[in-house]
């Protein structure tokens, strides 16, 4: 075992993993995190806690992770390189491990131009690839970036994000290979709506032998409405929402759009379960955690394995 995390145990034992996501609040109320945690407990193997996603200030990811731990859930610490240099990054990794966090997702982070503090200075001392290398070096070599020894190295299960729908399309699987070379153990993909295009990405990944080297969790986000689908299609960079998804939501009464969105998500999970090289799903129900239990259950993924 690299980290001994529950997520690692589920994946290495060959069982289909389910991860969830929890966006911390824009305030200091721990109760809000606990409430979200309540919906996910026993339903997912590990919960990503986002790190100031879309560059909007929120409760810190590490604090969110600690609250989840207190609630008996396993967190996955998302960390972006936008806001911290290598000194802060390594310090935060040590601190996270000391608090009992065993999974990390290494990200570059949305540019602050999208967020609520566009006048901020960004950092980008490292990029996401170098963050992966850093966490791996700390774990496997017990050394900091500067080659100095760590007395008690943090042992993290290392994750990264992959967007099969960004450009250049031909480079996406190759770039995933680069993350594997940098030291990643698992990846979670961008929300999948275009399954045909995703299948092509997976074919390329299989041809490159990458599915043997990394656990790939397919990203699934249920649509709440046609409005959300249009927003995702038009305003979220690197998102591929085909017309058929939008038409399906349009085809039902407004009050039924949410359940149609859930249905699409469940069907997506079922297709992903059949796909060679897919090790699990990452269910990102954005501010909709209360619907995750039924999605996971309807997809036939309950109960979660005891490891």
């Amino acid at each position: 075992m690299k980290s001994g995390s529950r997520l690692e145990k589920v994946l290495t034992s060959g069982q289909f993993a389910v991860t969830g996501e929890c966006g911390p609040p824009r305030g200091a109320d721990a109760e809000e995190v606990r409430k979200k945690a309540g919906h996910l407990k026993g339903v997912v193997d590990s919960v990503n806690v986002t790190d100031n996603q879309t560059a909007v200030v929120r409760m810190s990811s590490t604090a969110g992770c600690l609250i989840l731990l207190q609630e008996g859930l396993e967190p996955n610490l998302q960390m972006v390189v936008r806001d911290r240099n290598r000194i802060a990054i390594q310090s935060d990794i040590l601190g996270a491990y000391a608090l009992g966090i065993r999974n990390m997702l290494c990200l570059s982070g949305d540019h602050q131009r999208f967020g609520d503090h566009p006048s901020a200075k960004n950092v980008f001392d490292l990029d996401s690839m170098q963050l992966i290398q850093t966490v791996k070096k700390m774990r496997d070599e017990g050394k900091f970036i500067n080659d100095q020894e760590i007395h008690h190295p943090p042992k993290m299960f290392i994750g990264a994000a992959v967007n099969p729908f960004a450009d250049p399309a031909d480079f996406r699987a190759i770039r995933m290979g680069k993350k594997i070379a940098a030291g990643v153990d698992f990846v979670q993909t961008q929300c999948i709506y275009n399954l045909d295009r995703f299948e092509k990405f997976m074919q390329q990944a299989r041809d490159l032998g990458l599915t043997e080297k990394v656990y790939i969790l397919g990203g699934v986000t249920p649509m709440k409405s046609v409005g959300m689908a249009n927003y995702m299609k038009n305003l979220v960079p690197g998102m591929d929402v085909p017309a058929e998804v939008i038409n399906r939501l349009k085809g039902v009464a407004k009050k039924d759009q949410a359940s149609e969105g859930i249905k699409i998500a469940i069907e997506t999970i079922q297709r992903l379960k059949e796909m060679k090289g897919i090790a699990g799903v990452h269910v990102m129900a954005i501010e909709w955690e209360e619907r995750v239990p039924e999605i996971v259950e309807m997809a036939g993924l309950l109960p979660r394995p005891q490891v």
Binding site: H111, D127, Q130, P168, P237
Partner: protein, 222 residues
């Protein structure tokens, strides 16, 4: 070159408002090339100031000079005669210029007339773009001759990120994704394997992060 653009007249008028005797100082270097602070721009700005002062019922006392360069002590000497009776200097060189003047003339107020924007070049007449962030350790040959530090919004050395779409950056459809350009160029050169190798953490000590920089050329010192 260093690219700069003029500050709005309103901002400049507010800056120099308390001062009557003003010198507008241009520069024949980079800012002449990017049409922000050369002799012509000095004349235009001086005229604008005079008109504004007249509108306020004041007799304008604005003088003009355009130095060979404002980033060289010997050219700052050209100010000697004209600066004596001036209360304030409005420099429309890049921000190096006003600092040289401020360093030389302790009794004069110095104001920046330009916003120094970046090290770059012109794409077409009247359009300038950033190309370099002066990291002090050029490695663009690893990226098909294009700089991701200056031209990628996140300065990624292992791009493109998941926000690259149709050749554009996630921050704006007006910004090219330099990683798409790097990919296209390396593909054309048959060197895509360069993009499969992980570029490790960069040493930023040669950049501004290492503190203010100084270059000493022993071969040129007197």
């Amino acid at each position: 070159m260093v690219v700069a653009e003029r500050k709005p007249l309103k901002e400049l008028l507010e800056m120099v408002q308390p001062y009557k005797k003003i010198l507008v100082a241009g520069c024949k270097g980079c800012v002449t090339v990017c049409n922000a602070g050369g002799k012509k721009e000095v004349e235009i700005l001086a005229s604008e100031l005079r008109i504004a002062r007249k509108k306020e019922g004041q007799e304008p006392d604005i003088q003009e000079i355009t130095l060979e360069r404002q980033c060289d002590p010997e050219y700052i000497n050209q100010l000697e005669g004209v600066i004596k009776d001036r209360e304030a200097v409005l420099s429309i060189a890049c921000s190096v210029g006003p600092q040289y003047i401020a360093g030389r003339y302790m009794d004069k107020m110095v104001f920046p007339g330009l916003n120094t924007t970046f090290i770059g070049g012109s794409l077409e007449h009247g359009v300038f773009a950033e190309f370099c962030q002066a990291c002090g350790a050029c490695g663009i040959h690893k990226f098909g001759g294009l700089c991701p530090i200056a031209r990628c919004s996140k300065s990624l050395l292992n791009g493109p990120c998941g926000g690259s779409a149709k050749g554009k950056c996630e921050i704006s459809k007006d910004v090219d994704c330099v990683w798409q350009l790097i990919y296209d160029r390396l593909k054309g050169l048959g060197q895509l394997d360069r993009m499969t190798q992980v570029i490790p953490c960069k040493d930023w000590t040669t950049s501004r992060d290492g503190g203010p920089r100084i270059t000493i050329r022993e071969d040129l010192r007197l």
